[in-house]
């Protein structure tokens, strides 16, 4: 309470915190990129309509899958601990408790956990399930089903298609754009990156370095410039240059800052007025985020209608269970997952993998030293 009240007074001047633009820092790119529009290439982009939408797994996606599983299992060890302890006996209260514990430790939240387990209890009773292993399988299936929605590939509708990346501070918006730009470049789609984070020091430089790595173009304004206009310029430029895609970075903002959320609504509005179409508004959520993630999603979708979630830093020990609540309550699906800082560490969301990883042995308890376990047991 105290915190919230104290913050109010500072809100109006939130943007005044701007440090002076440092013109000597980082590679400066021309505001208007020089690339000529290439009328021929424009058509060439069209057959590619989705990222992961290709129903037949190509030779390219196979190794990627393996890599994700690899990374997840690196992070968690085999999912032995939890299930192994459950399967050795019948379904008793302890089993339910362990399931509850696993879900809560994964940040699913008490509400989602209770709802899931209540439903599971009913179904297990109806289907006369007596084997804990079947019970776990049933739960996983239910969770996978609710997370797996059709149309998880990013929309490329519009010319250019505009993808807007939003979220609180430090979740990995800029990094996600960098990785996605590289991926688009690989599939032959030219992207323009809009440095819409004009607030954080050196955010445009950070995006600029990603642009260099992936060969994308960067459109930036001065530090402290109006983010809406920077993004609008980028869209106009992409349209003129015949680039089919604009990825717009925005400054991290806490969803409780009314003025910043209004700024975001304006960005969203203005982006829609350009020649392109705002095809995706993606909320970037850090996997280590707890129950606040739901509040974030709620407020962000109020300001700029979200089309999906990017769950980042899933290569750590955090499991990102809060996205289940986001999907349940707001119907906003996870579309992408971030798995590291490397340029290739981005993958399409796979509900099955996610759920399996969530039930791997809880890292937090595994890591606990015996003395500590004793202390808090």
């Amino acid at each position: 309470m105290v915190f919230r009240r104290r913050r109010r007074s500072g809100e109006a001047v939130g943007a005044a915190n701007q440090s002076a633009p440092d013109s000597e820092v980082g590679p400066k790119r021309p505001h208007e990129p020089e690339t000529e529009p290439d009328p021929e290439s424009e058509g060439a982009y069209e057959p590619e309509t989705g990222l992961e939408g290709d129903p037949a797994p190509t030779s390219e996606t196979e190794p990627e899958r393996a890599r994700i599983r690899d990374r997840l299992s690196n992070a968690r060890g085999a999912f032995s601990g939890f299930v192994a302890s459950v399967v050795s006996r019948g379904i008793d209260d302890a089993v339910w408790e362990e399931l509850e514990e696993a879900l809560i430790l994964a940040d699913a939240g008490v509400g989602t956990t209770t709802a899931l387990l209540d439903r599971l209890k009913e179904e297990a009773k109806a289907e006369r399930i007596t084997d804990p292993e079947d019970l776990v399988a049933m739960l996983k299936a239910q969770m996978t089903q609710s997370l797996h929605v059709p149309g998880l590939e990013l929309s490329t509708e519009g010319n250019p298609a505009v993808w807007l990346f939003v979220g609180v501070n430090g979740v990995g918006k800029t990094t996600t754009i960098g990785k996605l730009a590289a991926r688009e470049a690989q599939s032959g789609r030219k992207a323009v990156l809009a440095a819409g984070d004009t607030f954080r020091a050196a955010a445009a430089e950070q995006l600029g370095q990603w642009a260099e790595r992936s060969g994308a173009e960067l459109v930036r304004g001065a530090e402290g410039a109006d983010p809406s206009s920077v993004i609008f310029d980028a869209i106009e430029h992409a349209s003129a240059a015949g680039a089919p895609l604009v990825m717009a970075d925005t400054a991290g903002r806490l969803h409780t800052r009314t003025n910043l959320m209004e700024e975001l609504a304006k960005i969203h509005r203005v982006a829609g007025k350009g020649p392109g179409t705002v095809a995706e508004v993606l909320l970037v959520i850090d996997a280590s985020t707890g129950q606040n993630g739901l509040a974030q999603a709620r407020r962000f979708t109020e300001s700029a209608e979200l089309t999906g979630v990017v769950l980042t830093k899933l290569d750590g020990s955090a499991k990102g269970g809060i996205v289940m609540a986001v999907q349940d309550e707001l119907g906003i699906p996870v579309k992408l997952v971030g798995l590291g800082e490397g340029i290739g560490d981005l993958a399409a969301f796979d509900a099955h993998e996610f759920v399996e990883a969530l039930f791997s042995s809880p890292v937090s308890s595994r890591r606990m030293t015996p003395s500590h376990r004793e202390r808090i047991a």
Partner: protein
């Protein structure tokens, strides 16, 4: 956002009203709700369990407080325990005889290390120190540029070069010593706690610069994983404290409790906004109330305690039960109310106050008026208001600066309250009543006045008013 917990407690409040001792089952019931609140606040499940046990031990068999009902008392224990856990030793920054004081910042990606390195530098500067920043995050693109820009804005020099982070850190400290800087703050790359290679590397940076203070930067929005992270960093670095960031959002910040419990080191600073100077020493009490999610109810519990003197309580209860509720008592109640602060605020703090009552303008002026009227009466009139006739009324009105009609109005209200009190003392009501009450202050019975409230809502309970069953709205 605090509504849900307050509402859940109301239900328990209602059922437990009238119970004299803290029974284990009551404690468990309240603790179950506390557990939910703590989990909603992202306190780690294992930490929650330990915490619950500690509170239970304190509660069971504890003597019942005269001014608090059992639920309030459990809340009080929980709050005290939270503060004790979060606070404990505070960080006292001392500086070595031979400068510079070396500070190392570490944490996950995106926790806010770079921003808070600059904030910490500004804080040291404010303390009269000459800090220098070292940018050893050579991994994230443009992290050093960010630090340089921030450094420039607070006029603190920044050292960095494109080399190995360990070498940069070492050189940075040497550079600071040479430049006569007495504090060096070293920013490092964000890393995952499970990335052994990176954690090992961090350990080597630490070994190279031998920091006097090592802080873990933790995002207040972190969920259950805070424990695993803190453990791993503590194992690698031996932390001295924690910097809690982004507390200006609406996250409850349970991570603070989890980390404190695991690391056993104080939460030294909290970052309360995006501006450089929005950075302060940590206040455990604020976060404790926030984690519990019912700061206002807690404030009320404390106020009730302060104001209510036990002797008064016993006496008032005795009279009340005998139906001898006099204008003197009425006046005393009013004064108690006033001591608790503005009535309007008080109403806002109470769970279960019906909206009509919340909106009703209960001004402190009105209480002053009541006070003046009663004070203008003779002791005889106060004890037996029946004797007040036309001429006495005139005198009282003149003495208190009111009109005779206002005196009449007060007397009418008082007699209603008195009648209500008699009924209350005469027969208990409500299913919560388990045993006869004997002159105990904490009698919690729903009086007829309480039925004005919507069904399912507990009656307005003002601890200072002993269940406060005056209809405050009728005082207008």
């Amino acid at each position: 956002m605090f509504d849900s917990l307050s509402n859940r407690f109301e239900g328990i409040f209602k059922r437990m009203r009238g119970l004299g001792t803290l029974r284990e089952s009551d404690v468990d019931e309240v603790l179950a709700e506390i557990r939910l609140a703590l989990l909603d606040a992202d306190v780690n499940l294992h930490v929650v369990r330990g915490f619950q046990d500690r509170v239970r031990q304190r509660c069971v068999g504890a003597e019942v407080h005269k001014a608090l009902n059992p639920v309030q008392q459990v809340i009080k224990f929980v709050h005290e325990e939270l503060i004790a856990t979060l606070g404990g030793e505070t960080l006292d920054v001392s500086h070595p005889a031979k400068p510079p004081t070396v500070v190392l910042l570490a944490g996950l990606q995106g926790a806010g290390k770079t921003t808070n390195a600059a904030k910490l530098a500004a804080w040291f500067k404010q303390q009269g120190r000459n800090p220098m920043l070292v940018g050893a995050d050579l991994q994230r693109p443009a992290a050093v540029e960010q630090l340089r820009t921030l450094g420039a804005s607070i006029e603190v020099p920044v050292f960095s070069e494109p080399a190995d982070p360990i070498a940069v850190a070492r050189k940075g400290v040497a550079e600071a010593a040479a430049a006569g800087r007495d504090v060096v703050i070293c920013d490092t790359a964000g890393r995952l706690a499970i990335d052994e290679e990176m954690m090992d590397h961090l350990g080597r940076i630490s070994a190279a610069i031998e920091p006097h203070y090592t802080f873990l930067v933790v995002d207040a929005m972190t969920g259950q994983d805070a424990v695993a992270t803190a453990e791993a960093f503590h194992a690698a670095l031996e932390l001295d404290g924690v910097i809690l960031t982004k507390v200006d959002g609406d996250a409850r910040g349970g991570a603070a409790l989890s980390v404190k419990e695991v690391v056993g080191r104080p939460i030294a600073f909290s970052s309360t906004g995006e501006k450089i100077d929005e950075f302060e020493l940590f206040h455990p009490d604020r976060v404790a109330s926030r984690i519990l999610g019912m700061g206002d109810v807690l404030t009320l519990v404390e106020k009730a305690e302060q104001v209510y003197e036990e002797a008064e309580a016993t006496e008032a209860a005795a009279k009340l039960l005998e139906g001898e509720f006099t204008l003197e008592d009425f006046l005393e109640q009013m004064r108690q109310l006033k001591k608790m602060g503005s009535l309007q605020n008080l109403m806002g703090m109470l769970p279960g106050v019906p909206p009509e009552l919340r909106k009703a303008e209960i001004t402190d002026d009105r209480i002053d008026q009541v006070e003046a009227i009663i004070c203008s009466m003779t002791p005889q009139e106060r004890a037996a208001p029946r004797v007040i006739d036309g001429s006495r009324r005139q005198r009282i009105a003149a003495g208190s600066g009111t009109r005779p009609s206002e005196v009449t109005q007060l007397l009418r209200q008082f007699s209603e309250v008195q009648r209500m009190m008699k009924r209350m003392g005469g027969k208990g009501s409500g299913p919560a009543r388990k045993k006869p009450r004997k002159g105990r202050k904490g009698s919690r019975v729903t009086p007829p006045g309480g039925r004005r409230n919507k069904p399912g809502k507990p009656a307005l309970t003002l601890p200072g008013l002993d269940d406060g069953q005056f209809d405050l709205s009728s005082l207008r």
